[in-house]
């Protein structure tokens, strides 16, 4: 009997991504395992946002396969794609809450689209989701009335509306003060450990990388692919690649050469 925990949730195989003439990523391959907290790191322009957009189906690869929960989203038809989309949630960097709708309406949207639940049941689910992210009571608030940290949490509530087994986070700590960022870390860990949700992050926030990440891959612009993979704490101490050491030790190449 196959142990479900051993089947990877995401398999990226020989992915090549292009913007017009320019190749951003070449033959990138990696896996994301069920239930893990997986992070995609790298400097500016390394292609991590591009990689994320491919993984959530916003972009189609020039070549290669992206298999999410058993479905190759690069080649899937509309119906299969819809199936996959109902099983994932995305928290965008700019939270992407619908500005013209209240928080409740934002969270209701996927629920109304994919389920046939009566309105009262949906309202209860919304209250539960908002409660999960410590925003109980804010159902009728508009996104513009909330602070940045609250909006991120609202975006997370919406991403989790359908109890997805896979959550994607695009730079979730960007623009947050240290305390709010730490609170977000706690929330993320609770959800991951409590619900078993697999989580993929794109980030540069070292503090959260070291406190949350179980496995990371590091991309590099010139390499157009992965230059390091594994446990971030190990990479920080033991990597022989100066680019990796610089990143995890938050040091500039200039200072390194002076040691």
């Amino acid at each position: 009997m196959i142990n479900e925990a051993e089947i990877p949730v995401i398999v990226v195989e020989e992915l090549t991504a292009r913007y017009g003439e320019e190749t951003i990523l070449e033959n990138v391959s990696f896996e994301v395992r069920r239930g893990e907290r997986f992070m995609i790191l790298g400097g500016s322009g390394c292609g991590k946002s591009t990689l994320l957009k491919h993984m959530i189906g916003l972009l189609k690869p020039a070549s290669g396969r992206i298999v999410v929960d058993g479905i190759d989203i690069a080649r899937a038809d509309e119906d299969r794609l819809r199936e996959v989309r109902s099983r994932i949630g995305v928290l965008f960097q700019a939270d992407a809450l619908f500005g013209s709708m209240t928080l409740a309406q934002n969270v209701t949207l996927p629920l109304a689209e994919y389920t046939d639940l009566p309105p009262e049941r949906i309202r209860q689910i919304i209250r539960m989701k908002l409660g999960l992210v410590h925003l109980a009571g804010y159902e009728n608030h508009m996104p513009s009335e909330l602070s940045g940290g609250m909006r991120k949490r609202a975006g997370l509530a919406r991403a989790m509306a359908l109890d997805p087994m896979l959550l994607f986070f695009d730079e979730p700590w960007a623009g947050l003060d240290p305390v709010t960022a730490a609170e977000l870390d706690i929330l993320i860990r609770r959800i991951n450990e409590g619900l078993g949700t697999t989580m993929v992050f794109v980030t540069q926030e070292l503090a959260s990388i070291f406190s949350l990440a179980e496995r990371v891959i590091m991309l590099h612009k010139e390499a157009r692919g992965i230059i390091a993979r594994g446990d971030p704490r190990e990479l920080k101490e033991n990597s022989s690649d100066p680019r990796v050491v610089d990143f995890f030790n938050r040091q500039a190449a200039a200072t390194r050469s002076n040691e």
């Binding site: 794609l81 989309r85 109902s86 994932i88 965008f92 700019a94 992407a96 809450l97 500005g99 689209e113």
Partner: protein, 380 residues
Amino acid sequence: MDKSDKPFGVEIHGEPGGELCLRLTGRVSLDTLEVLIPQTEAIPERWSPRRLTVDLAGVNYLDSAGALALLQMEESARSRSISFSLINMSDKDRDLFALIDRESLLPKPLRPEFETAGPLARLGDAARRMYRDFSDIMAFVGDLLIALLYCLGHPRSVRWQDVLYYMKRAGADGLPIVALISLLLGLIMAFMSSLQLKQFGANLYVANLVTIAMVRELGPIMTAIIVAGRSGSAFAAEIGTMIVNDEVNALITMGFEPIRFLAVPKVLAAIIVVPILTVYADVFAILGGLIVGITGLDLTFYTYIQQTQASIRLFDFGMSLVKAAVFAILISGIGCQRGFQVRGGAEGVGVSTTSAVVSAIFLIVVADSAFAIMMHYIRY
């Protein structure tokens, strides 16, 4: 050393052809450069010294602009093979000089300065842009058609709440301005034409003129232009802002189809509401004509209304509604397309909003001309 309170001063010690020492005092900074430079730039040339020394002991403030001026003095001296030195620099001054990267002072931009391309190149660019724009619009028309057909087949998939919302915004909220402009239009048409018709004792026909002109042509066009300005731009701005905020990407990842979700309600609302607004415009224009007729032309209410009634033909009225519906599709369609086209931030939204209105007006005029030609052949 006596650091004087003067903003800036320079003392020259030495003889021409020999060793020259410039003692600077006070502030050597951005605000004193206009005094420093004229007093010192001609010195290497005029005095032709063998060696030039600049003494900074009396300087009480040096900023980067001042340091740059001194560096340039050094350059000008070295280019004449005059040996140059700065003495009595404080530690702070030394740090400041260390900060200035001399390499970056030489002009070596990574990209040449932007030069407007010649007229032929610009013509080529414009042609390419127009072609790309045309193909983008055609693609959008196809997508919109598919979405509308889908909604025809699955009416429950339409977001009717949104349709009602846009009907209020594009229709009911636009009533005051449409009424006002049409009223004025009717007034003006009646008044202007009466100046001529009076001469023939044909005041009565003012009613016909206003009615026919409005119902056949001006009603649909003026209403469409107002709707383009009010709602065409609003649709573009709303969708454009959603693109900038990643809201459209969020919709896609949640499995929604953006054109079905965002464009269809707007287009449906426009199709319902613009013909109604056009009828309102006709009514208010006739009212405007009526006001002129009664107050200036000694017509009675009854006479004016009777003339008006006599000149409306069902065919004309029907055609005006068809025109209005077609304009509605053009306005809302191009408005949404420009919104989806937005790239960049606030500026991108501004550009597409303007483009939505201008393109809509252009399309309205083209469509109206097409209608005029069609009408010509249908009548005869």
